[in-house]
Symmetry: C2
Subunit: 266 residues, 2 copies
């Protein structure tokens, strides 16, 4: 059981930030990644469609013999976690709960901002999770639909990123937030720009690291952690493996050798 | 046969610019629109995926009894026209040939620019079509992946649009182009910004109007034009009908009453 891989799933390349955090925290684990690039982006799709795609990918990874599934997509974690848990027999870890816990613990004033895709923000998942953990928090959420295409274009650190970020985040001015949850796995790449817009005092919570920690706790509790050498890395996408390979190398370096195409019926 | 609707198909809302041009030129025709919002955007998908989705939508519209199919999506027209024509028995009109013809006729110097999605530009479809029509043209193409999300966000006439347009179009400076093909059905909304960046002398070719004219010629040649009163308008999408309804009303006005959900197996 220990040698089985951890499955990591996202709508596209964004989940590679979580993949990387898992590699760093759990260097002995085998990992298999699935990017549902035939349906990307999830953030503007309906809850039903997101659930249908997510369940199909989870079932595919379950057939690959994974020992745990990390849903490294905020939209899918916000909208489809119960359906995914029903569809597969292995432990399923989403990114919402770890991010919300980290923010609730970190914020001195209890005023927390959240940014994410349209679907994630509309779901209210972060707000619910935060108030469940710590009643009395003051939470403010804002959908930022252009951030993902901006990052996919590679424009995450220039004047366009700055102008777009300034516009989206102007609602937070005067709100007194001291903590901002990056509620989308693409957003860590925007950290320098977000810091410039919000100032250095606002704490940026990136759920990748938190999710890796949660995964470690989970596997440790089940006695399923692996610490051996010689790990496997497998990458699957539902469309455009060559395009994904290029982006994956920008995220993870030249170690990514091969991306396989796997059409998913959903 | 005359009373049968014309089918209009796009990956999302962009094709509504063609729908509107058809309404204006052929006010007596019944129209049925399909937006493949479960798979939008097509512009960053692989040719195989675009062809699979396009054929599935074309077959659905064929089952609705259309008398002609307008492929109001540049990406689909660039990558999947032969497959669509093989899949359905009615005449199929794409947007590439009409746009290319208009540009070749309009350009005094023969220096023509093209902007479009990644997939449309990578296909080389416009360049091929232009040189087939008029050898010796000097053509320059540029993919602008952020324009569609920018327009879907409603930011088509402000400083972000201007900055993004200026960056994409800077390759055209000093190229001497006098004509620019808007090779994506979303782009007509950016006309004021594009004019500001390129100057008033560059002619902007919008294939919507040309495609409506081509459709008229085609149906007239077959004796299938309808000029009666009391027309039908039907709208289908493969995901998120409510979201589509809001965007469709921004394009077409409050006359859009109902959008139906139709899942497409592709």
């Amino acid at each position: 059981m220990r040698d089985r891989p951890i499955g990591v799933f996202d709508s596209g390349v964004g989940g590679l930030t979580v993949f990387k955090a898992l590699e760093e925290r759990l260097p002995g684990e085998n990992l298999v990644y699935f990017g549902d690039t035939a349906h990307v982006p999830y953030g503007s799709k309906s809850p039903k469609a997101v659930a249908r795609y997510s369940v199909a990918v989870a079932r595919f990874l379950a057939r690959r013999g994974i020992k745990a599934l990390v849903v490294a997509c905020n939209t899918s974690s916000a909208l489809a976690l119960p359906q995914i848990r029903q569809a597969v027999a292995v432990p399923v870890i989403g990114v919402i709960a770890p991010g919300a816990r980290a923010a609730a613990e970190a914020s001195p004033s209890g005023r927390i901002g959240i940014i994410g895709t349209e679907a994630t923000i509309a779901s209210g998942a972060y707000t619910r999770e935060l108030s469940r953990r710590k009643p009395g928090l003051r939470v403010m959420a804002k959908a930022c639909p252009l951030f993902v295409p901006l990052i996919e274009e590679g424009w995450w650190s220039d004047d366009v990123a700055w102008l777009v970020a300034r516009r989206y985040l102007k609602d937070f001015h005067g709100s007194g937030i001291d903590t901002l949850i990056l509620g989308c796995t693409h957003y860590p790449l925007l950290k320098p720009v977000l810091r410039r817009v919000l100032g250095a005092k606002v704490l940026l919570i990136d759920s990748a690291e938190e999710t890796a920690r949660e995964t470690e706790r989970h596997l440790a509790g089940l006695g399923r952690l692996r610490s051996g050498r010689g790990v496997r890395r497998d990458f699957y996408v539902s469309d455009g493996p060559d395009r994904f390979l290029g982006l994956a190398r920008r995220f993870l370096g030249s170690g990514v050798k091969r991306v396989r195409l796997e059409q998913i019926d959903a």
